[in-house]
């Protein structure tokens, strides 16, 4: 019988939640890396027992962890204790160094500011090689490892896509979304707050902004600027990688041509501000968002936690409330904290800053908390296991 493994990153450690295909009875392990900020964990699609994790700390910086047994044990790739340091390889798995001249980006006050590595927000294992993994970093850059996370090299041409004009938002300036096109592995989409969306068609040699159609009239002096938009999340369905869905700072957007042009599909949402967006595993036109009241009030409108589902690829939305708190709820759902499984009845998952992780085993019709009292949830990923 199939099963699911939910990988949860929180402000104070990582947790792994497992259940069989019914998704009723859950086993919880953790905290793994107790006390550390776990920005993101994600398993390799090629080898599901290989899981990469981004572990960070204001004190000690960035750590990359890897498990090769489904999260039971972990290692810092290449960083194992050395009985004799003489001649042994040095661990470089924590070393994220920008290539070449560091360069500058726009600072909050409009002046230029040097790039400074802070942390890895997102890890995206390759679709076809368990040793390849991409890392989305703050300050915004994409790094690639070809040896299972032992060492990392920046793909520096991303920052040449008008990087001098990128400017951090209040949450920093990070590559938080990395999407590989399953039909064309040379094509990768990434998104940066607050620079926008970008695409490479040549495996990362060159990148171009794909922000035409986005409008940020309250955030940018030029609302139609080529870069500078605060993209919160992008999602695709693997069967239709040219169709992109975006939750922007404000506005839910859609592109039907690989990001060449976007149009708004916010429709009847109670608020078009939010962070995550995801696509049903078997219905490419069914998408999910969690409306948040505003950019200054990061909680659900009216204190009601509602996931909104559109079965028409946007514009027409229905509130999903069965099992979710409908009063006095003031949590947030962060951009990397929603995921879907690929069981026959598609499961939808999301985590909150209040420490709840909810699961809907029926595509959003009904919800139950798997756990209620974790630290603030930063990320949720799910693996569907045979």
């Amino acid at each position: 019988m199939s099963s699911v493994r939910v990988l949860v990153g929180t402000k104070k450690g990582a947790f792994i939640l497992t259940a069989d295909g019914k998704r009723e009875n859950w086993t919880v392990t953790g905290p793994h890396f107790a006390g550390w900020e776990m920005y993101h964990l994600k398993g390799s699609p090629v080898d599901p027992n290989r899981i990469f994790a981004s572990q960070t700390s204001g004190w000690f910086g960035q750590i990359i962890q890897r498990s090769d047994d489904g999260g039971k044990t972990w290692t810092t790739p290449g960083g194992e204790p050395m009985p004799d340091p003489t001649g042994m390889p040095s661990g470089q798995s924590n070393n994220f160094t920008y290539e070449g001249g560091v360069g500058t980006h726009k600072w909050y006050d409009g002046t230029q500011h040097p790039w400074e590595f802070k942390r890895v927000w997102h890890l995206e294992p390759s679709l076809n090689d368990p040793d390849i993994v991409f890392a989305g970093a703050e300050d915004a850059a994409i790094f690639k490892s070809v040896n299972g996370g032992k060492s990392w090299q920046e793909m520096p041409s991303l920052r040449q896509a008008k990087g001098d004009l990128w400017q951090p938002g209040a949450g920093g300036m990070a590559v938080h979304t990395i999407i590989q096109d399953p039909k064309n592995l040379d094509r990768i989409y990434i998104a940066i707050s607050a620079a926008g969306a970008f695409r490479t068609d040549d495996g990362g040699k060159t990148w171009k902004p794909i922000n035409k159609g986005l409008k940020s009239q309250y955030e940018l002096p030029d609302p139609d600027a080529e870069v500078g938009h605060c993209v919160h999340r992008i999602a695709i369905h693997p069967s239709r990688p040219d169709v992109l869905f975006m939750q922007k700072h404000w506005d839910v957007m859609r592109s039907d041509n690989s990001g060449e042009l976007w149009h708004e599909v916010s429709g009847n949402l109670p608020s078009d501000f939010g962070f995550p967006i995801d696509v049903h595993a078997h219905e490419p036109e069914t998408i999910y968002v969690v409306p948040i009241k505003s950019d200054s009030e990061h909680y659900p409108p009216e204190g009601k936690l509602r996931v909104y589902r559109s079965r028409t690829g946007g514009n027409e939305w229905e509130a999903l409330t069965n099992g979710l708190p409908q009063k006095d709820c003031y949590v947030n759902v962060l951009r990397d904290a929603m995921a879907v499984d690929s069981l026959d009845s598609c499961g939808i998952y999301f985590g909150t800053t209040g420490g709840q992780v909810y699961c809907s085993p029926d595509g959003g019709d009904t919800w139950k908390p798997i756990v209620r009292d974790l630290p603030a949830v930063l990320s949720v990923e799910v693996q569907t296991l045979p």
Binding site: F60, G78, G79, E80, P81, M82, P85, P89, S90, N94
Partner: protein, 99 residues
């Protein structure tokens, strides 16, 4: 020369050690030489105490020896006799969380 080093909790966890660690450090025994030996013995600690590239101490990390704060001293500062003869450990300390 064997030097005792005390690490903060999270770095002990990362290095998978309990209590103090003992390191064989080549003379002259300086702050930098101790960190070099520590990182060589426990590569997972590279980048956690000082920056990979610049080797600058991370802002929330402090170095102490014999109740003296050596954090702002040059990396080639030699450690006192009590550290060299093992009477005292070299302390690597994280800033206190919270307020």
């Amino acid at each position: 020369m064997i030097i005792r080093v005390a690490l903060p909790f999270h770095l002990r966890t990362l290095a998978r050690v309990e209590g103090e660690v003992s390191l064989d450090v080549a003379e002259p025994v300086t702050v930098a030489a101790v960190i070099d030996a520590l990182e060589a013995r426990y590569p997972a600690l590279q980048g956690t105490i000082r920056d990979h590239g610049t080797l600058k101490r991370r802002p929330f990390i402090r170095f102490f020896a014999c109740k003296e704060d050596l954090s702002l001293e040059p990396p080639d500062t030699q450690l006192p006799e009590a550290i060299l003869n093992g009477t005292e450990p070299f302390l690597i300390v994280g800033a206190m969380a919270g307020g």
